[in-house]
């Protein structure tokens, strides 16, 4: 007879371990490459040498000036680190939402985070002209964060007011309603404050170009907390795959799980959006690509989404700062460029399945 762990610890287990290891390695390489490439600063091959030089007890002459190294550490590094955090967060949030709503086309902005954050940012840009220039705390990320959370809260309230079952379909519809209303208000405000349109548009396209270590510190606790909660729920998301009824019959408190997952994902997404604007496509492209490689089980998709999302955004940020040198290409544009061919490939792959 078969031994207990011979056939039943799934064969895919080794594939997952392998994928995780490869992903870690790729992430390290991506971060290194991200640190090396930029429109100014030291020559790219000197950067790793200087990194080695900065290790304790090692001293190597890399020929990098202090000013150049300052560019790397103060401008480029926070950007790369922020890309890691935001990319990871958006991917795992997207994957989690796909698990909760049992719909592969869902992204973390579904319930209104994006629209709410956008409105918050618009209001700050509008008011900033007169009132807030001397505030101690930068109101922009605060308003975006608050706006995103309030919008999702509103979605939940509306969803539960109209349906006792609080089913996923109701939530989605409520999300659409909230998004539409918020966007309409935003458009109205912009129309009356034409001079900030450019700033708002620029914010909406998403950017990592303004990343500072302060931004990293701001986002880090939310991302870590959120990813932690989501990872804890990955087995439960798998149970949800058989539908609400069967999952309940299998002992899952679906409302509580759904609420917790949505809350954690929204918190992290709102924080990411607050500092980097609305970067689209990451929450869809990455989880799907991960599924193509390791299958649909959320126990694998969630952790790998974190790693692969980080890799994706770090790499996407490189053309963002180099392509239109000396200007920036908003990173939302870069990810969108990846988005279209991605979906075509997905169509192609799915065509060969059922």
């Amino acid at each position: 007879m078969l031994r207990a762990n011979d056939n039943f610890v799934p064969r895919a287990g080794t594939r997952v371990a392998y994928s995780t290891l490869v992903s870690f390695a790729l992430l390290t390489i991506a971060v290194l490459v991200g640190t090396m490439i930029g429109p100014a600063g030291p020559q790219w091959w000197r950067v790793p040498i200087e990194l080695i030089n900065r290790l304790p007890l090692i001293s190597v002459d890399s020929g990098v000036s202090d000013a150049d190294w300052n560019i790397v550490m103060q401008i480029r590094m926070p950007r790369v680190v922020l890309a890691v955090l935001v990319g990871a967060m958006l991917s795992v949030a997207g994957a989690s939402y796909q698990g909760v709503f049992r719909n592969p086309l869902v992204d973390p902005y579904l319930l209104g985070v994006a629209a709410g954050a956008g409105l918050g940012a618009t209001l700050v840009f509008t008011l900033r002209r007169s009132a807030t220039e001397n505030w101690l705390i930068d109101p922009l990320p605060l308003a975006a964060f608050a706006g995103g959370l309030i919008a999702v809260f509103a979605t939940y309230m509306i969803g539960s007011a109209f349906s006792k079952a609080r089913s996923t379909a109701t939530l989605v519809l409520a999300g659409i309603a909230v998004t539409s209303l918020t966007t309409a208000v935003q458009t109205f405000v912009l129309q009356r404050n034409n001079d900030v349109v450019r700033q708002v548009y620029s914010w909406i396209l998403g950017r990592l170009s303004s990343a500072t270590w302060g931004d990293v510190r701001l986002v880090l606790p939310y991302v870590v907390f959120s990813c932690g909660i989501l990872l804890m729920h990955r087995r439960l998301l798998d149970v949800l795959r058989v539908g609400d009824d069967e999952a309940t019959a299998l002992g899952v408190n679906i409302r509580r799980v759904r609420l917790t997952v949505v809350l954690a994902a929204t918190l992290g997404t709102a924080a990411a959006v607050a500092v980097s604007g609305l970067i689209g496509f990451v929450g869809i492209i990455v989880p799907h690509t991960v599924r193509l490689i390791v299958g649909s089980s959320y126990r694998r998709v969630l952790p790998l989404s974190i790693l692969c999302g980080a890799i994706f955004l770090v790499l996407a940020d490189i053309p963002s700062r180099v392509l239109a040198d000396p200007a920036e290409t908003p990173i939302g544009v870069v990810t969108a460029f990846f988005g279209a061919p991605f979906f075509l490939i997905l169509l192609r792959v799915r065509k060969n399945q059922v």
């Binding site: 930029g38 429109p39 100014a40 600063g41 000013a67 300052n70 560019i71 103060q74 401008i75 480029r76 220039e133 001397n134 505030w135 101690l136 930068d138 922009l140 129309q191 009356r192 404050n193 034409n194 001079d195 450019r198 700033q199 620029s202 914010w203 950017r207 170009s209 303004s210 990343a211 500072t212 270590w213 302060g214 931004d215 700062r321 040198d325 000396p326 200007a327 920036e328 290409t329 908003p330």
Partner: protein
């Protein structure tokens, strides 16, 4: 995003400038007794200098300007030789264009900016964390927000003058600008009072009829001439409202100023074929004035040309009786 705008240090600088300005305005010869030892030669400027909220330890020789208005200011006060890079919209003067740099003021690439090793960066607004990022690299940043009055424009010119070591030239420039504007306005009002009733105008920002009220910088210049803006009072609290075609036509302004000749290719011909506009006084009497978009939207030294354009146009206005 915590920029110390013009406030305290600005006032200090202004006080210094005001003292010299006062002395310079009163006589045609160069001033002798001032509270700051400002020489006319460049080589003996007193550093460190504090102005516009920042302090520079030495004369900046590698200035990067991301604001077209301030590019014009820098070149006008004689600091052009110290400018190494400008943004893509700095299209005046020709020396700035000749630098061949095309940085972005809206989506700044901080690394690219830092690549020029600047010791002073001049911007007109912070798109997000720019000041913080440049400060992390120990690069001084001067922020000159959009001026809301001529006084603020002069103040910025003089602050830049102090910072770049050309305060005397800057002060001379502002007093010259002031004198020129005053003279033009004076001459114009002589002819304007002969008209009788106040002259109204519509200022067109773009071809979707966005306009400005007389609270805006441009609007205040028009106010110097006693011109009345049809957009005033239309939308409370909004100085850049969008008017509908009906409102403009029914207000029937005496003059129409086009500030969208470059961006949106508007000319008196295109205006006169607009639906319902044919019978407007301004169209019938051909009082449609084409302004240069750039000159009309900046608050630098070429403001004087704007004033002259308005004055010239006014002189041609036939009484609309």
């Amino acid at each position: 995003m915590k920029m110390k705008v013009l406030s305290r240090a600005g006032f200090a600088g202004l006080f210094v400038c005001a003292a010299t300005l006062f002395a310079a305005c009163s006589e045609t010869s160069s001033s002798t007794d001032t509270t700051v030892a400002v020489e006319t030669t460049v080589s003996e400027v007193a550093y460190p200098v504090t102005a516009g909220g920042i302090t520079l330890e030495a004369q900046p020789m590698r200035i990067v300007s991301l604001s077209p208005t301030h590019t014009e200011m820098l070149y006008a006060i004689g600091a052009g030789g110290q400018v190494v890079a400008v943004d893509e919209y700095s299209n005046f003067p020709a020396e700035a264009v000749a630098l061949g740099t095309k940085l972005s003021g809206y989506e700044p690439n901080v690394e690219s900016i830092a690549g020029y090793e600047p010791d002073l960066v001049v911007i007109s607004y912070d798109p997000g964390n720019l000041v913080e990022q440049l400060s992390a690299l120990d690069i001084a940043v001067y922020i000159g927000n959009g001026a809301s009055s001529l006084e603020q424009a002069y103040e910025q010119i003089e602050q830049l003058g102090a910072l770049t070591g050309h305060l005397d030239v800057a002060v001379q420039l502002t007093s010259q600008m002031q004198a020129d504007i005053d003279a033009v306005v004076l001459a114009s009002s002589a002819s304007a009072t002969a008209m009788g009733e106040p002259i109204t105008y519509f200022y067109e920002l773009d071809n979707t009829y966005y306009t400005v009220t007389s609270n805006s910088f441009v609007g205040q210049i028009f106010k110097l001439f006693g011109l009345e803006n049809i957009a005033d009072g239309v939308e409370e609290g909004n100085d850049y409202p969008q008017l509908s075609s009906e409102v403009i036509v029914s207000s029937n302004p005496t003059m129409i100023y086009l500030a969208d000749t470059k961006c949106c290719a508007q000319t008196p011909e295109t205006v006169s074929v607009r639906e319902g506009w044919q019978k407007m006084d301004a169209v019938v009497n051909k009082n449609i004035v084409q302004l240069d978009d750039d000159i009309a939207s900046r608050w630098g030294p070429r403001v004087v040309e704007l004033v002259k354009s308005i004055s010239d146009a006014l002189a041609l206005v036939a009484p609309s009786k």
